[in-house]
């Protein structure tokens, strides 16, 4: 197990290196703008642009720039610990800005995960057990709609309906409310709409996924055995059926959490939540390369770490798996 984890961690570093390299290549080989110009502000003198170019080594060969960037990130190589460079826009360090926005993204993700699990899993179970019933058809029909509705559409509809300043039924704090809220509950209230909007598609996907899994599982021989030994149907479904059917959900959940921690770009943008996703979005719009690289690297980091955690968890969930 320990050897496996070490092996996987080496992979994590390799993957993050590759991700960084690809991002770097994409933005430097196909540049949309001159970084030095961006940095220099409005109508700069050519001397200023030139000095910026020199200061940041933008004239150096790309490979030198790349390894300087990597060296700055690694704590023991360059000068001052973890340094993801400086934003072209604000001239501030990238890492503190990301960490500053992380809580909002974590809060958004956690709430949404809890919400979609507590909606999706019961619905999936009920529709699997009552396959073909009107309840099954109804919930699966709604699920299909929820999967098909994109967040930016659903989000705008939600704002249009419930935003407490512009909505038809002004019930809930809307766009930008998260920044304004100061208390925990105030922030939570501000996230009610984003949580619901973000969860809708996930809850639907999880419900359908669990339903399919559980229907398959209930055909297994060991379910027949469980019935043959005289267990109550409730026990057969929950202890024998759901126990197996829910296992693959762990994989799905791990990856989804990883993806969302890297920034729920659409949700954060629609609801103007200053999280990592919003940060990345703004950076892309302004071609703020250090920030783009930082957020991409962070997103990749969460995904590979979550998939490592999932694989380790699996060994505990499924006794057949040994590393």
């Amino acid at each position: 197990m320990a050897a496996y984890i070490v092996r996987r961690l080496i992979w994590v570093f390799f993957l993050l290196f590759v991700v960084t390299l690809i991002t770097f290549i994409v933005f430097n080989v196909l540049p949309a703008a001159d970084p030095a110009l961006l940095r220099a502000g409005r109508q700069p003198s050519p001397e200023l642009v030139e000095s910026i170019r020199e200061q940041f080594g933008l004239d150096d060969p790309l490979i030198v720039q790349f390894f300087r960037y990597i060296g700055d990130i690694l704590p023991f190589v360059g000068g001052d610990g973890f340094n993801f460079g400086f934003s072209y826009q604000s001239n501030q360090e990238v890492l503190p800005q990301i960490l500053d926005r992380l809580p909002a993204t974590i809060f958004l993700t956690t709430g949404a995960v809890i919400l979609w699990l507590s909606i999706g899993i019961p619905i999936g179970m009920v529709s699997a057990v009552k396959t073909g019933s009107w309840l099954d058809r109804l919930t699966m029909g709604i699920a299909l709609i929820a999967i098909s509705a994109p967040v930016y559409f659903l989000g705008l509809v939600a704002l249009f309906l419930f935003d407490d300043s512009i909505g038809r039924f002004p019930l809930l704090p809307g766009s930008g409310a998260y920044q304004d809220a100061t208390t925990f509950f105030g922030k939570a209230a501000a996230l009610i709409m984003p949580w619901c909007v973000l969860s809708a598609a996930f809850a639907a996907i999880y419900a359908r996924f669990l339903r399919g899994n559980l229907i398959d599982t209930m055909q297994e021989d060991y379910i027949r055995t469980a019935r043959a030994k005289g267990l109550s149907e409730r026990r057969v479904i929950f202890r024998h059926g759901v126990r197996s059917a829910i296992t693959p959900i762990v994989t799905l959940l791990g990856l989804d959490i990883g993806i969302l921690l890297g920034g729920a770009i659409l949700t954060e943008t629609v609801f103007n939540i200053q999280g990592i996703g919003r940060f990345a979005y703004e950076a892309i719009v302004r071609f703020d390369l250090p920030v783009i690289q930082g957020t991409v690297l962070f997103g990749a980091f969460f995904i590979v770490i979550m998939s490592l955690i999932v694989d380790i968890l699996y060994a505990f969930i499924d006794p057949r798996i040994r590393y």
Binding site: E220, D221, T225, R235, H240, P319
Partner: protein, 369 residues
């Protein structure tokens, strides 16, 4: 005489499908006495598994139409409430299945799975149930049962898994054990061990056993009674000795001559039954075995045979339209090594109106060429 332990009467299990009504089990009757062993033999699709799952109340498909009676210890099981059936399952009637790997839950330890079976019927503590589970594992011949109870099914070999299944099935001391192809998924060397184990435990626990198999060899040693099923019906039924020594149904002959025998001379060919089991939706008219029967006559395509006693022997019943004398002669011929097609010419040809018509013969012989 006391009522039999299990009485199945005119059991029918039909499934409504889009293609039509699948008559998986179509009016079978049998009884099993206490401590007795019944072997139900047939090809896949003959309805042998469905009939016993129905006895257990495990035919759950919504499109299933079940009729007839299943009495266990005098109590009617068909139509009993879910809770009543749950109490019967695993306590009065236990079941083991074909594939012991897929039949045990992969995520739970073997000991705990047995504990679950015990605790769902007995009001005992977990520790007591666990001790009983370990005892049962020892009884079915698993070495170091206390240590092995703490293992997962995938850590067991195939034979051990089936032993564990048997331990689980017998943990509540059931009166009837239904073994559905208990050895089919196992290595040949392990098969005999498992059958021996079932026999030994049957004696120790005085359990009645229903063995379902496609392999007459499996029931040769264990069964007291044998019922041969074909296309959802019993075509021959009788004491095991009679079925093996004086079978009267051509299908039984086919089953018997397709088993390899140690005492047969080298180079002796096995004789397969030609053709395939019929569709259960569109059963052949008349005797449903007629398309595969080497001894078919024209009338057999129209008249349905009934399961009637042979020579007034109420224990031996056959559903065949040939008369008993002809059947006995045919069996003798086959025993003497005459191939079915030739036996037909010799014996059946006598008095057969269409015996000289080559066209029909060619048609009948076709599958054998």
């Amino acid at each position: 005489m006391a009522a039999p332990l299990l009485e199945v009467e005119d059991l029918r299990v039909h499934f409504e499908t889009e293609d039509g009504l699948v008559k998986a089990v179509d009016g079978i009757s049998y009884t099993v006495d206490r401590g007795e062993t019944l072997g139900i033999v047939g090809e896949s699709g003959s309805g042998k598994s469905v009939s016993s799952l129905t006895v257990m109340g495990l035919t759950r498909a919504r499109n299933a139409r079940i009729s007839g009676t299943v009495r266990f210890g005098g109590k009617e099981l068909l139509g009993a409430s879910d809770e009543d059936m749950r109490k019967v399952r695993g306590d009065d009637i236990a079941m083991i299945f074909q594939d012991p790997l897929s039949s045990l839950h992969p995520f739970y330890k073997v000991g705990n799975q047995i504990v679950e079976a015990i605790q769902s019927h007995r009001d005992v503590s977990k520790a007591q149930a666990y001790d009983r589970a370990v005892e049962m594992l020892g009884l079915v011949g698993i070495p170091e049962p206390r240590r092995r109870a703490d293992s997962y099914p995938h850590e067991f070999s195939g034979g051990m898994r089936q032993r564990a299944m048997i331990a689980m099935a017998l943990a509540n001391d059931p009166k009837l054990l239904i073994a559905d192809e208990p050895t089919t998924a196992l290595d040949v060397t392990v098969q005999a061990q498992i059958l021996e184990l079932i026999e030994r435990l049957q004696r120790e626990f005085d359990t009645a056993v229903v063995v379902i198999t496609h392999d007459l060899g499996v029931v040769a040693e264990m069964a007291d009674e044998i019922a041969v099923m074909y296309a959802g019906r019993i075509v021959e039924q009788g004491p095991a000795d009679t079925i093996f020594n004086a079978p009267e149904h051509p299908y039984t002959w086919g089953l018997l001559s397709s088993i390899p025998r140690m005492d047969a001379p080298r180079g002796d060919e096995l004789v397969p039954i030609p053709g395939r089991p019929p569709s259960l939706i569109h059963l052949p008219g008349g005797c449903s075995f007629h398309p595969r029967c080497p001894f078919v006559r024209d009338a057999h395509r129209r008249v349905e045979p009934r399961l009637d006693p042979v020579d007034g022997n109420s224990r031996h019943k056959v559903a065949c339209l040939l008369d008993s004398g002809t059947r006995k002669r045919l069996w003798e011929e086959l025993q003497a090594g005459v191939k079915p097609g030739d036996a037909r010419r010799d014996v059946i040809g006598i008095g057969r109106p269409d015996a000289d018509q080559p066209s029909q013969d060619a048609g009948l012989d076709a599958p054998r060429r």
